[in-house]
Symmetry: C2
Subunit: 228 residues, 2 copies
Amino acid sequence: MKYKVIFFDFDDTLGDRQTYSYQTFAELIDTYCPIDDLIQREAVLQDCMLWDMRGNYNKQFIVENLKKRYGIELPIKNFLIWWSDRQSKLALPKENVYHVLEELRQEGYRLCILTNGYEKYQKRKTKNIHVDTLVDKVITSQMVGVKKPDPRIFQEALSQMKARASEAVYVGDTFSNDIYGAYRTGIQPIWIRSLSWPGTAPVPRIEDLSELPAVIHGLEQGTIKKNV
Amino acid sequence: MKYKVIFFDFDDTLGDRQTYSYQTFAELIDTYCPIDDLIQREAVLQDCMLWDMRGNYNKQFIVENLKKRYGIELPIKNFLIWWSDRQSKLALPKENVYHVLEELRQEGYRLCILTNGYEKYQKRKTKNIHVDTLVDKVITSQMVGVKKPDPRIFQEALSQMKARASEAVYVGDTFSNDIYGAYRTGIQPIWIRSLSWPGTAPVPRIEDLSELPAVIHGLEQGTIKKNV
């Protein structure tokens, strides 16, 4: 059976979040508490990246730790809005994004980005890296009212793309939100990972988007084992 | 000038912490709240790895998040002790550790591991991966009474190794504790990194320990710029 719809997470799946998050932290520090010593500055930035947990935690955690560890008090009222706004302006694509999206589209798949975050800022990211015109739809958690991994956001996305769960795959990097969320909804997950730690679950995985078409075909042809 | 002493961080510098931490989380979950569904189990393990922040945060954070996100209540009184004990038993070396330590020793450098953590468990790690006999000394923060990046632990280590700051280099992965800590004490840092995010500070960096001897020689010969 051929799939009809391919869903994508955005940050760290299509977008090179590690890079534009680092640049956002650099802008934050350089604007609100410039540090002349480049090694001291890097210590703060690298700690911010650790506390960021690849975007999978409340942003307030970073604000609190900057204060606790470095005595840095940020004069920003809503850090999540500041962060979303600045980060969305600095968005960059991961390697091979354009080539792979075009290839999949030419093969007849409908493409949809399904991302947690604010409508305005997540859509700006897709526009800034020019993938907005390469996909059929961008659906955000703000629009739906619930976030991944809540099955309702996956069900709403299926409904908007006019597909059944068995006709879709979901490509994402965060195991709990993307992979387990899709799996619980009956959508076949594909894990894009670039972490240096292990992962042992029997889910199809790729290191780079360029491997995606072959994995999708393998699932369709039965040469790669499905999870749902 | 030739350096006399090379200090090493342990976890994620000589030890493959990413791997033995994952295995420790797996043991934790499989012992205290076994999960039959392998994809659900992986979601919990991958979240634990995110919350772990490569070991650079209070362990209680993981306990709280396991309860908050997954309703998992661990019947463990002191999680830090449980963690240190189990993790130390599963210790594994990073690649090229033996070869590089032996080479540096043959060249006449004195070697010292300077690590945050409990004496008993950190020493057990160095013994389990057989580096205890390849270095001259293992110094832990418990022994000194302060942790990296506090300059006093670096100064105490210099004193025990009978060297001045200018005669030593420090090799570590955590920028704020290892690199900024050594730098503030006047010890030349070398950053071993295996993170997918950027780093822009002008500090000598290596991706793998096998690059270390050449970087040390470059600093000695003036072909690589020193920071201190």
